[in-house]
Amino acid sequence: MSSCNRRVRALFAAALLLLPALALADARVEARRHFKTGMALIADGKLDAGISELLEAYSVRPHPNVLFNIARAYEAGGRPAEALTFYNRYLDAKPPDADKVREVALRLEAQLPRKVAEPDEVKKPTERAPQVDEATVKRLDALAERLERAVEKAEARAEASAPGEQKAATSAASEEDFGVPYEETVVAASRRAQATLDAPNAITVITGDEIRASGLTSLADILRRVPGAEVMTMGLGSANVSFRGFNQRIANKVLLLLDGRPEYQDFLGVTLWSVLPVGLEEIERVEVIRGPGSALYGANAMLGVVNIITRAPGTGAPSEFNGLAGNANLAGGSFVASGGDKVRFRASVGYQQGDKYSRDYAQARPDVRSNIDDPNLGLRTARANLTAFYAFNKDFSVALSGGVNRTFTELYALGLLRNYYLDGTGGYAKADLTAGPVKFRFFWNHANFDAGPQYEPLGQRSLTTSVDTNVFDGEALFQKELSLAGTHVVAIGLSARLKRVKWGYIGPLTEELHAAAFVQDEWRIIKPLTLIASYRIDRHPLLDNGKPGYAQSPRVSVVVRPFESHAFRASFATAFRQPTFLESYMDIRTPVPTVNGASVLTQGNRALKPERLISFELGYRGELPRLGLTIDLTGYWNIVSDLIGLSAVNPVNPADAFDSASNSFLLGRSLFSNDGQNYTARGAELGLTWNATKGLDLRASAALQSVVANAQNGVEYAGVCGPCTQAPAAKVNAGFIYRTPVNVDLSADFSFVSQTTWVEREPSPSDPTQIANLQNKLDPYVVVNARVAYRLFHDKVTVAVVGSQLGPNHQEHPFGNSVNRRVFAQLTVQP
């Protein structure tokens, strides 16, 4: 290696070595700010100052296109030698436009005198500054020699902090790695990488850096920072998440995807937020679509989509240990290994446990027994996951992954049911094949749980059960860019899903076969204007009054970017949630509390219509990188209909009053049915992020909403509107991350949720055979989380103290735990 190259690399290395001191809150945001500033300076003719900013951006977070821009700036500035150096470095990253750039490099080489064309010579400062004496050159050479030894090491660390991009610079990279540097990209909104500004939905991205800086152990808690998100913690391992209202026990209107694979539990229609086969430390970013997503994702993406994207195999630190221990028996640990060359992999194992926030009953009561061995246990999960990737060439690749999770957790069930336990094993296997413009995905989701009420009255018939569920899914996605009266990016997808559920609550093995097709066209008509039209049709085996039927989900969005970094968005979309197995097939007899001889028959309904959403949305997103400010403002108007819920308890025919299966008399029957009432939800969401100064990120969001029951045929709704009173009118979140220059990291976040009134079904205290909806007023509450961390040994070791739920004890649902403080120590080691 030439001394010049060594020197240039040494300069990079020096910058990289400074990383711990130049502590950054969010590397991407910080790098983007430098990049934008640098480009502006270059445009103003301040070449050296601008390039200095670009180098700063590169040192914060390496990105090959920064090298390209530096090269172009030098070239435009009449300094072909420097330009050639940076073009060559750019070519090292094997960019898609390598051929074209190589031609430019050859042309520049031709412009240079032979002696300066030698790479070793090109970057010698003395060539541009002949006044530097020999002694200075020798000192620089010595410095370069010394720094060179640290180059590999430094770049390895840079790779760890920016795995995707750095890997792209050293191996086969995807096209998205060569997009606009540091521009926030998302894949959830359109099933392909695109700038957040181009997304047709309101979308929020939570980066892996943010997650790690929060120290939180629950993804649901982290989602509180998403504008409009409603996170309802019932217990340590039990949370319900919704967007824009309609949260409930067993919240079922948000689709959680893990690398594109749904974590939605179809048998129950619930997401077990605390039971993922990967750890939070493996997450690259979380993309949250606030609003309908059925046009691309089909059923259940009704109020939002949460798409977790994990670190690509082979990227990031080669190994990472995490451990935590805290009060309330909170303990856990994980190990992640990542590496490989041709075949890249990421493997992880993890364990976590913790006590409940509170218990519903004391021990050794004369009336109630606990059905679990350790009644204090709130969550225990042991997991393992393996993901491998192999690229045959630029166009063909395969990714295989699988995971297993042995879990004990809580779940707050519907109707008269309360706190359930789930004790069992979940797992998945997945294959992603890329063949040019076509991507295939196959997965198998499996869960096998014992479940039942955590507490049951002594002497009462037990409702413990078991569930065994398997979901097989296959999808083909074709994407193509073409020109026709503008630029089109067309996506066409086909999918099929087989669900098999064997569950004591629904009877024998039950199967459903689903199929879907979708198409989307992103049509860039003229430069600032993009029209996105999507349409999806889902075939469901029961949607036509118990027979196979179809649900259609169109979406039309217009995105206008009149100025760089500013986007205005208007969209119309529909979405639906299909009936779950629980809602279609349930058949259980729930004992009437205090009346052992009586039960309520709760039954599914195969003639259910899907829940429907019609949504109108206007949004603005502004990214002001020079200020480090991002603004996200959204207003929405949602009409929700056909909500599925349990009917009132209606008498059964007297001839059928005695049920021999339960040896009890049926007080009545409650049937899952569609609510004939329509609801309108209106609201506005504001999200701000501000990279205020080096190392300091501030974040704030606020959401206001109103849910009302619509008048029917001119008659105002007269009943108690549960969905209206259960939706908090105001939600506020604010927080910061500060990575100080002295290796201490600070972060905190604060959430406020306004008062709600929950309408829940309970037996009358005076006559348990009278079951009615009772109103429970829930006070406003505040959630506060904070973390203090200290980085040691060049960030290889981080120790932290994290406090979650530091605000006053509170309930987030009338039947939920008294949520209280958790304080724990965290240790992270990246050897």
Binding site: G459, Q460, A598, A825
Partner: protein
Amino acid sequence: MKNVLLALALVLGGCEAPTVFPGFDKRQNLSLGRIEGQVIVNSTARGRIILFLYDATRPPPPLGTGRPLTFTVVSSEAVFGAAIEGDSGPFTAPFAFSLVAPGRYLIRGFVDANADFIPWYGVTADTTEGDVGGAAIDPTTRASRIVEVGVDEAGNPVPALDVPVSFADSARLPIDRPIFSVVGGMSSVTLSGTPVVIELQATPIDEGVMTQPTPAFLVRFLDDDGDGVPDDANGDGIPEVWPRVVVRKVQQEGSPLLDENDLDKNGVVDATGVDYEHAAAASDGLPDVVVLAAGFNVAEYASQLVDGTTGRVKTTPTAVPRLKLVLQPRAFDASTPAGPQPLKAVPIGRYAITVIQQTGQTWRVPNELGLEVPGLPLVPSQGFVVQVQ
């Protein structure tokens, strides 16, 4: 710094159990006990066993008019298993009443030999011919036993365990419930200033879930003092008899199945309700249980109720198909059953007639059969009401 580290260590090392927090759930905020025991059946009857729990202060008919607080079912399979026909046992099986508040209770039950008991309707929620009665009794004295869910020194409920409930063929019911209709096909009778006599006719109903083909009134004179002479405890010159009758005011509007001031149907006077002026004083400010002065005139059966040889009243009842009911234009507040208070005037409104047999079987008119209740036969005579104007 040391203090900070110490505090941190204490926080992190804390292993305290989660606090108990019941939340808003009404049930989770209660501290209750339970009653468990065994049913012991000496009978050739077969069927599921229905057990009722009563407040000891409000016993069921024939001792009172109390209604069950709760009930439970013991399956026939659990009790009798594969026992051969004719085997009279004893057979045993466990039972439980869950979530029972501290208090004193009575347990009654029966073997539902006809499998025709349905708890949700008045017309089906009683014993019928062939059922075998039972109760929690003291094993020594064979007297009815009061089962107590106590409270320990810490204030925690103490469950009542190992409670035996016995059933025997000696308590087999010989007859169906006293189903009646008012002779004459009237839908109502009006009571104003003078007494009214109506005649009740035992009326078999054998349709749908109602399979009671052999109703009758079991009549006998009361002779609690055992002197062989009919008792006349109230001194009105009319001897008291079984069956007894209660004519109670029902709610003013809406379903006639709900008694006034007991709209939750728990047999206990509601906390708030209608109050009437008493004869002795102004209204007491409390809801009243308004009943009419009424009784059966059994003069036409008197000779059948007395032993022709000894001249003493018979101790066994005589089944008769008809009874004359005398309704007096006088009303009482029976909210204190032991000392009903006369009212100044007879409250205007609708009244229901309830006949109570010595066996504890009852029948009330109006009932669900007089209304259009899905799944039950419609019997217009069962909609009869007494109207006071």
